[in-house]
């Protein structure tokens, strides 16, 4: 049995991810999270009399704090294994990646542990976000002048 045959042999025995079920779960849960934050947005506008844009930022902050606390309590990891990308794609995933990195490297010290590793997972989002913004921004300035 050569290498390629062995790979095929292995593939028949590895469990296939339940593609349809996972997709349905992430659609429903992700959608519910979207509707819930819209409700939150309307409530913040009512309670604090803030404009819509600022209320949106406060909704994001609320989700970040909730996700960080759940991560610290160890609940978020359990939820992610069940709900998959419904919790990774909303901003909760960003907060989760920062808090879990901080928790994991806590034992290696305040500077070399937390400080050096806190952006370990979230850094990729910020890096490619900023690089693409510079490119797209220059493109837009060249095409329509700002």
């Amino acid at each position: 049995m050569n290498n390629k045959e062995y790979q095929k042999f292995i593939e028949t025995y590895t469990p296939k991810p339940k593609v349809f079920e996972n997709a349905l779960v992430s659609f429903l849960v992700g959608g519910a999270l979207g509707s819930f934050s819209e409700l939150l947005l309307q409530l913040y506008q009512l309670w604090f009399h803030l404009p819509r844009k600022e209320s949106g930022v406060i909704v994001i902050l609320t989700l970040i704090v909730i996700a960080s606390v759940l991560t610290a309590l160890g609940i978020f990891d359990v939820l992610v294994t069940k709900l998959k990308s419904a919790l990774i794609i909303p901003i909760t995933g960003f907060a989760h990646s920062i808090t879990s990195a901080a928790l994991e490297y806590r034992t290696e010290g305040l500077v070399l542990g937390i400080g050096a590793n806190i952006f370990k997972l979230a850094g990729t989002v910020i890096l490619y976000g900023v690089v693409s913004v510079y490119l797209f921004g220059l493109l837009r300035i060249i095409i329509i002048g700002g």
Binding site: G31, V57, I60, L61, I64, P90, I91, I98, V133
Partner: protein, 116 residues
């Protein structure tokens, strides 16, 4: 109606990312980076602004809105100062999210121990 739109848009982004995760070898890190770039790309000509108008918070909470907010802050100042405004304004709108996440993570990891 905006609740339905929020449900559909946020659900749709999660659905697409789940399909990518299940059918390719990309990791969540790849997918979130890809979605941030897509969000910034959609905002070059203000398409994402229209989506936010119709879908409300459903378009604000997915990670695509991170790219949208980055380019929005950059273009706001670029309008006033020219191309150098990109450098000054790029974190204007996202600084709240990043700083709160950092501070929360710092104090939480001092209090809690990781659970495995």
């Amino acid at each position: 109606m905006i609740y339905v739109n929020a449900f559909l848009f946020c659900g749709f982004t999660c659905l697409v990312s789940q399909l990518i995760l299940d059918n390719t070898k990309l990791t969540p890190g790849h997918v979130t980076s890809l979605f941030v770039v897509i969000g910034a790309f959609l905002d070059i000509f203000g398409i994402y602004d229209k989506i936010v108008l119709y879908c409300g918070a459903g378009a604000i909470i997915p990670i695509t809105s991170f790219g949208h907010l980055l380019i929005h802050g950059a273009m706001d100042l670029a309008g006033e100062m020219g191309a150098i405004g990109l450098a000054f304004g790029v974190f204007n709108l996202t600084s709240a999210g990043i700083s709160v996440a950092l501070v929360a993570a710092f104090f939480l990891c001092l209090i809690f121990k990781p659970k495995h």
